[in-house]
């Protein structure tokens, strides 16, 4: 009995050890690259005017926080959230309607397919002319990029709901709305969360693309502005902040996923 326990302990320790080693290497790679980058710039092996350098990026970030970094981050954040929420909401409504009216879904299928494969950035000029250059255009851009994918993903999920589950509900006399709310929708929570993840990423892509095109504020604006005036420090700083921002909102969705799927398998 004692021997088997120690065997288990060895196993658990090895597992823990492995986890630490992986984390250590992950952090090491990042630290190594940053140090290498800094050193190369310090001794003049690379031109920090073109590549920037970590110490200057940090300085820029500190400087930005004293003036308006928070404002830019706030703008991008607001646009992303509005685009994301609208994308999910409209996506969900459209997908539900298309599930409800099968013929309708069949009629619109080729349109969805073409719209899905069209690079939505191409619509940029049209969007600007139609809704004006400003936050509205950026949100519409985010929506254009994320909406169709959401609709298709959700509709596919709805359509592939286990037929037997639907039949079971129907044998109890379930009406169509009951089938939807009691079976089809809840059995697609996983699909919904997957499409939240995709939607979030795409909304951010849409917002940055939109900011590239029209904005006066936001991280996308900072990146374009930095590039135009050849301030690579500003560009790099903005990209890093953007990466951290994206990681944080992705993490939030993961936490939400964990809560929503608590009781499933």
């Amino acid at each position: 009995m004692k021997r088997s326990k120690s065997e288990r302990e060895i196993f658990l320790n090895r597992l823990k050890y492995r986890k630490y080693i992986i984390l250590l290497i992950q952090v090491g790679i990042l630290a190594g690259l940053v140090i290498l980058w800094e050193l190369c710039a310090q001794i003049g092996l690379i031109d920090s005017f073109i590549t920037s350098q970590p110490s200057r990026i940090v300085k820029t970030i500190i400087n930005l926080s004293s003036n308006d970094l928070m404002m830019h981050l706030g703008v991008t954040c607001t646009e992303t959230i509005i685009g994301f929420v609208l994308g999910v909401l409209f996506g969900l409504i459209i997908a539900s309607v298309l599930w409800w009216f099968k013929t309708c879904a069949e009629i619109f299928e080729p349109y969805l397919v073409i719209l899905n494969s069209l690079p939505k950035i191409a619509l940029g000029p049209i969007i600007i002319i139609w809704v004006g250059a400003g936050m509205k255009a950026i949100i519409v851009m985010a929506l254009a990029i994320s909406l169709i994918v959401t609709v298709m993903e959700l509709l596919n999920g709805f359509k592939s709901t286990d037929k037997d589950l639907i039949t079971t509900a129907e044998t109890f006399g379930a009406k169509k709305y009951q089938v939807f709310f009691k079976v089809v929708f809840p059995s697609n929570i996983k699909t919904l969360i997957n499409s939240l993840k995709i939607n979030l990423g795409l909304s951010l892509v849409g917002v940055i693309a939109g900011e590239f095109l029209v904005s006066k504020a936001g991280l996308g604006y900072l990146i374009v502005y930095g590039g135009q005036v050849f301030k690579l420090d500003l560009v790099m700083a903005s990209v890093i902040i953007l990466a951290v921002f994206a990681a944080i909102i992705y993490k939030i969705v993961l936490i939400f996923e964990k809560l929503a799927l608590k009781n499933r398998r």
Partner: protein, 257 residues
Amino acid sequence: MDILEIKNITMNYQDINSEVTAIDNISLNVKQGEFIVVIGPSGCGKSTLLSIICGILKPSSGEIYIDGVKTTGITPKIGYMLQSDNLLEWRSIYKNILLGLEIQGRINEETIDYANKLLKTYGLYDFRNSYPSQLSGGMRQRAALIRTLVTNPEILLLDEAFSALDYQTRLSVTDDVYSIIKKENKTTVMVTHDIPEGISMADRVVVLSKRPAVIQSIHEIQFEDITDRTPLLCRKSPKFSSYFDTLWRELDMNETV
């Protein structure tokens, strides 16, 4: 009067290439409390027949009468169990069992009491807050049966209800379900491709021919040597193998002709 009358049911399936007659003029009467087993070659239209009785499928012609009243579509007088238990993974066992009542808008003190009583009687009360994934295959099947019984149907339709289970579980679940059905005094029509399972449960076995399905023969199954009949006891009776031989030969003849 018979509780269930199947009158001249014919079913044609239409698709783009052809018209297939799945069922050809089947008539059958079922008495209150009777256990009918329908067997036949695979793809002969056994499940189609159940779907028609249940009302989710409209026959090309013919009528179904329950208690002498002609049915038009789905009715709460019939409970239907499909091949797998079809429990909803995101609902607790208790919530799963109330699904039918919820859909029919019949959740009240009386029906909840009945649900609790069934859960207690059939040993699932302690698991009412568990989720389906935490239960064994046999318990899930029992939960599915209770979900059907809770709406208090007069007739139960079982469509290969045990074929998703492994053999061991299947034997005990068959016993389990049979005793519940008998205790609740329900009329049952069960479709299966498993001859022994059919014999072990049936009062009458109906043999369907291959497509287009007609009733080829009906066999009364009686075990005089057994007093308190259970499927497992039936399997041990000497009469069991003679029933098996008869039915097997009949199905076999059916397949080769």
